[in-house]
């Protein structure tokens, strides 16, 4: 997609607080196509770089409702419509007996959606990503904190942006091969 020679610039920080601050600054400076990488969830970081919307809860709610409906009506269909049988003199629609399965199916649908939805929205699995090309990026899963401003950002200018990042107190700023 990007025709730029580099994917972007990667700035490395020591502590989460520095990263959050840097993110805020970058966003304030008008950068929009940027992302941060941390070894653990850092509170407020996503908001700092302007990521606010999250549609996951809605998806899970819908899935739960659908699961509940499916759970109950599949039982109703089997017991009342498709193959009605007199079982121990109980009524065909013994709805109290249908509750447990309805509940379980609800949970199953919602839980599956939560996980799959999260992965889908995150675009995972994604075996290749340019940031992995950065030599020190492996530390992002250990103890280092990175801010990446992508080349596709309209305000991106390799020189200016590099200066800007170094100005944020990054230990090191490197190019990221596409």
């Amino acid at each position: 997609m990007s025709t730029a020679p580099v994917y972007g610039l990667l700035a490395e920080f020591d502590a989460p607080e520095e990263l959050v601050a840097a993110g805020e600054r970058a966003y304030a400076d008008g950068y929009r196509r940027l992302d941060a990488y941390t070894p653990f969830p850092v509170h407020g970081l996503a908001e700092a770089i302007g990521f606010r919307t999250n549609r996951l809860p809605l998806l899970v709610l819908i899935a739960g409702i659908v699961g509940a409906g499916a759970g109950f009506f599949s039982q109703y269909y089997a017991a009342v419509i498709d193959y009605p049988l007199n079982v121990g003199g109980r009524p065909l629609n013994s709805w109290p007996a249908f509750i447990p399965i309805t509940f379980e199916v609800t949970i199953l649908a919602a839980a599956a959606t939560a996980v799959l939805g999260m992965l889908a929205l995150n675009g995972l699995p994604q075996p290749y990503h340019p940031v992995f090309n950065a030599p020190r990026f492996a530390l992002a899963t250990r103890d280092r904190f990175f801010l990446c401003i992508e080349a596709t950002d309209p305000r991106f200018d390799s020189e200016a942006t590099r200066k800007f990042l170094e100005g944020l107190g990054a230990k090191e700023v490197t190019d990221v091969e596409p």
Binding site: L85, N86, V87, G88, G89, R90, P91, S94, A97
Partner: protein, 995 residues
């Protein structure tokens, strides 16, 4: 099998093989010369081969036995196709086409003879294979019902262990060889007129056989005919001779008796006429209304019987006290007695007084019955009392004996043995029976037998006797051959074969005809005899009718009034020392002849609920004194002989009395029956065939595991069998009902009750009629292809009977009240088993049946856990024998044979319901009341079980369910059972009530 016991055998005899192959008829396949020659090697091979069953490894002892029952015999491979119709003409009982319609059973009337009495039966035949025995409604001794032994006898027909070939000193031979051998032997007889010839039969009630044997005796005037069977009625005959100077046959009119006194008799369940008597007795126990007058039964006995269990009053006395009691009662009734010195206990005195009053108050409508095992004196006293009470001709009727030639069989056997030992016997033909095993211990039959030059044995099995005979002749099963026999009242039934002999067996008639050297088919022999008996009229019609009806019209012996010659002797003054020993025929294997019958072995004995064993029954008090537990092996010493037997504590047993059942401890019965139980004959003497005093008992350290199907004997105060006296019933007609319940026993429910349109099947069981005789259990097993599981499985509680008879005791240990309650699937409308089944394998039919769908069942056993009646049974292993070809012939084709891992239970004989439905539909009508008869209902001698449509208010079952005595089991669980019970009533004598 018994080959190892056979005289030496060398390799394969080619001549024999050729002869044998020539002999075989029918599509009979053979695999190897060894097989045809039936060499021991081959037999061993079979035995080595067939336990290659999975289960054996898991539990060497039990599993092997279980497998033995499965009894796969390669030699039978060809026989599956061998079930051809007999070539002789026989007449279907039902109005069915002459030719067989596939899927449509035919019923043939025939007769089954046991213990010197025939009873008429109908046999259901599917494409030529008999599958089920029912009673013959036209037959006076059956009235449509049967007993357990008769029901089970059909299994004997297909028993793979039955002897399958003529054996000469253990090697296969042929009938022709035997016949010629016999002829030469008779010709070479050293004594004139066949003086060296002896024939030994069991009790003969077949007029034809008797005539044949008479002819033999005419041909060989010096020959002798002996009769012996271990459970004979010698004492009955002797008692009659004491009373009338002649042997007479005594018939009881139980129906006509208001007061019945049983002197150690089990007339309701064993002996000639028992089936009929049970029916008549029950007809006087049904309280149609609270006002109905019931009969009253007193039982005085030493060892509990089912009859005693039905009694309103039961007095426990020592065996030798019984005669004194009878004498005392006779004296009290004003009968002349030659000297009488009896010191009754206060209770006995009270009894004598009460009985005498009650009997006297019912002259002509009372009845005194002496047990078959009681001494001649007791029988004489019974006759005398009936005479004094003017019962003769009213409740007691006499005819000529039904035995063709009534003899004292003990004496007869004694003479034979004496002759054999004296070397007077050159030729001995044993037609049926197993005397080597059953002869009294002090009659050295076996060793005397060895002195006989030529000995042949005709029998169903190669048993203990065959092993000692030169010739073993395979006998034709009752359902394989022609014969006839007299019923308890003399009525003659023709025994027709249902199937050609599976193993080329022959009947006694055919052997006898060989003796007379005019070989004829059984059909000709029997038919010709009756033709000769018929002076006038068209014989053919009579014959056809006789075959069709299963009896010869008006052949019952005419009633006679024998002249009284009775002189009652003084009481024998023998002081009883030590304990008393009592012998009884086993309720399951009888005298041992049914030892290899898996159904009967696994049939819980009515009182002990024991299976696969007999035991020394003793009273709780005695057990307590000796510190004996059920299962402890005790050493019994009687008349100088010793026997170790496991003890079993039986409430209601007279203290100091030990009861042993005959028929166990067989050594060559077959794979199922050999080596189980203890052989009571080893203690039996000719002088004391039914036991006597002088028994000593020693405890041992050994124990043996006895498989009883009921571990708990009391109702734990639960209201399961509801009981009251007739008096209480008159006062509170609703005593049996649950409080606040109005008949149906329904509890309030959140759910609306299910509506049943059309038929709604239900059952009512009258506990006043149920004697606990087990006929229903056998009928169910036979009808529904129920498997046999073996002792090891019974021990862990896995028996498979769809109907069981629960036996509960009430009152003290010494003389408790015994009640029986048949429990089968209650077909609950709110069946607890159904909602818990995860796959819907048990659901309700539109007619209220609790259906079990075998092929859907995955076997979670949740239904059984949730069944409060525990009537569901699970195939924990592959119980159904799918290996033995002959048993495949036995199956009822209308009932699925269940496989491993599925649940099964009573279906209300749904196959019979559907049969009736088809009938009704083809005639475009509704199913009539009484058209559907379940197997248990059909077999029940006392008609305790009634089945029908409860939606039809006029049906018998509906009327019974409306009866005030009707109640449901555990209705407080709101299962709404379709099977309900009629509470049991006692009709006690107020004079005996207090205390």
């Amino acid at each position: 099998m018994s080959h190892d016991a056979m005289p030496g055998h060398d390799g394969i005899d080619w001549g024999e093989i050729r002869r044998r192959l020539a002999e075989r008829q029918g599509p009979e396949y053979w695999r190897s010369l060894d097989e045809v020659a039936d060499t021991p090697e081959f037999q061993e091979l079979l035995h080595r081969e067939f336990p290659e069953g999975a289960t054996e490894w898991t539990d060497p002892v039990g599993r092997r036995q279980f497998l033995q029952l499965m009894g796969a015999s390669l030699a039978l491979a060809g026989l599956t196709a061998c079930s051809s119709q007999p070539s002789d003409k026989i007449v279907p009982y039902v109005r069915a086409p002459e030719e067989v319609i596939p899927g449509k059973p035919l019923f043939f009337a025939t007769a089954v003879t046991l213990g010197g009495c025939s009873v008429g039966v109908l046999v259901e035949s599917h494409q030529g294979r008999p599958t089920k025995i029912e009673g013959n409604p036209l037959h006076p001794g059956s009235l449509g019902a049967t007993d357990a032994l008769t029901q089970a006898s059909i299994l004997g027909l297909y028993d793979p262990d039955r002897s399958q070939v003529v054996l000469r000193t253990g090697t296969p031979s042929t009938w022709n060889a035997f016949v010629s051998g016999l002829a030469t032997q008779l010709d070479s007889g050293t004594q004139p007129q066949g003086g060296g010839l002896r024939i030994l039969t069991e009790t003969v009630v077949s007029p034809t056989l008797a005539a044949q044997l008479q002819a033999v005796l005419a041909k060989f005037p010096a020959a002798r005919w002996h009769q012996f069977e271990p459970v004979s009625r010698d004492t009955v005959r002797a008692g009659a001779r004491l009373a009338f100077g002649e042997t007479v046959n005594t018939i009881h009119r139980v129906e006509a008796a208001d007061v019945i006194v049983s002197l150690g008799s089990d007339f309701l369940t064993t002996g000639p006429g028992a089936v009929r008597y049970a029916r008549e007795f029950a007809s006087r126990r049904r309280a149609e209304t609270p006002a109905t007058a019931l009969n009253r039964l007193y039982a005085i006995e030493a060892t509990p019987t089912l009859t005693g269990g039905m009694a309103d009053h039961r007095l426990v006395v020592r065996p030798d006290d019984l005669e004194s009691f009878a004498r005392g009662l006779a004296v009290r009734l004003g009968i002349e007695v030659g000297g009488h010195s009896w010191r009754p206990t206060p209770e006995q005195a009270k009894w004598v007084d009460a009985l005498a009053r009650d009997l006297a108050a019912h002259r002509g409508a009372s009845l005194v019955v002496a047990g078959d095992e009681q001494s001649p004196a007791v029988h004489l006293l019974a006759h005398a009392m009936n005479r004094a009470l003017e019962n003769h001709g009213r409740t007691v009727v006499f005819t000529d004996p039904i035995e063709a030639v009534p003899v004292d069989q003990g004496e007869s056997l004694g003479q034979l043995v004496a002759d054999m030992q004296a070397g007077k016997v050159e030729t001995l033909l044993i037609l049926g029976g197993n005397p080597v095993y059953t002869a009294p211990a002090d009659v050295p039959f076996a060793e005397a037998l060895n002195k006989v030059a030529f000995r042949a044995h005709l029998a169903l099995y190669e048993d203990e006797t065959s092993a000692l005979c030169h010739w073993h002749l395979p006998e034709a099963h009752t359902l394989e051959g022609w014969s006839d026999g007299r019923a308890y009242d003399g009525t003659v039934s023709i025994q027709q074969p249902l199937i050609a002999p599976l193993y080329g067996g022959r009947t006694a008639h055919e052997v006898a005809s060989a003796l007379l050297s005019d070989p004829r088919s059984g059909y000709d022999i029997v038919r010709d005899y009756w033709k000769s008996q018929r002076r006038s009229g068209d014989f053919e019609t009579v014959w056809r009718k006789a075959l069709h009806d299963g009896l010869i019209a008006d052949s019952a012996l005419p009633a006679k009034v024998p002249t009284w010659k009775g002189v009652i002797p003084a009481a024998p003054s023998v002081a009883p020392q030590g304990l008393d020993l009592v012998f009884r025929p086993d309720p399951a294997v009888w005298d041992g002849r049914f030892a290899n019958n898996g159904w009967l072995q696994e049939l819980p004995k009515p009182l002990t609920k024991l299976t696969w064993d007999n035991a020394a029954l003793m009273s709780p008090a005695a057990a307590e004194r000796l510190g004996v537990q059920s299962g402890d092996v005790v050493e019994l010493t009687f008349a100088g002989r010793r026997l170790n037997a496991p003890a079993w504590i039986l409430p209601g047993q007279a203290d100091g009395t030990v009861t042993l059942h005959l028929g166990y401890g067989r050594t060559q019965a077959g794979r199922a029956g050999s080596g189980i139980g203890v052989n009571a004959y080893l203690l039996r003497t000719a002088a004391a065939p039914w036991g006597g005093s002088g028994l000593t008992l020693k405890t041992t350290s050994a124990r043996s595991r006895l498989a009883s199907t009921q571990g708990h004997q009391t109702m734990q105060g639960r209201n399961l069998v509801r009981m009251a006296t007739a008096e209480e019933f008159r006062k509170h007609p609703d005593f049996a009902r649950d409080p606040g319940d109005h008949g149906a026993g329904h509890q309030p429910s959140f759910y609306p009750a299910h509506k049943y349109e059309g038929y709604a099947w239900g059952m009512a069981i009258d506990l006043n009629a149920c004697t606990g005789c087990n006929a229903c259990v056998m009928a169910c097993q036979s009808e529904n292809n129920s498997p046999v599981v073996g002792k090891a499985e019974v021990l862990v509680g896995r028996e498979m009977h769809w109907i069981r008879v629960d036996r509960y005791y009430k009152g003290g240990l010494e003389a408790p009240e015994t009640v029986h309650q048949p429990v089968l699937c209650m077909q609950c409308e709110n069946a607890p088993c159904e909602p818990v089944c995860p796959v819907g394998a048990t659901v309700h039919s539109s007619e209220g049946l609790n259906d079990m769908v075998y092929n859907r069942c995955v076997g979670t056993r949740y239904c059984s856990n949730n069944c409060p009646y525990k009537v569901r049974h699970f195939n924990f292993l592959q119980y159904a024998d799918d290996r033995t070809p002959s048993l495949a012939l036995l199956r009822n084709p209308n009932v699925t044979v269940r496989s491993r891992g599925v649940m099964e239970k009573c279906t209300y004989c749904v196959q019979r319901i559907n049969e009736a439905r088809i009938q009704a539909k083809t005639h475009d009508r509704d199913i009539q009341d009484g058209e559907v008869i379940t197997a248990c209902q059909a077999a029940c001698p006392s008609q305790a079980i009634v089945f029908g449509n409860i939606n039809d208010p006029k049906s018998r079952v509906s009327q019974l369910k409306a009866h005030p005595l009707n109640y449901g089991l555990l209705t407080e669980l709101n299962t709404r059972p379709r099977t309900t019970y009629l509470a049991r009533l006692r009709n006690p004598n107020p004079a005996l009530e207090q205390g």
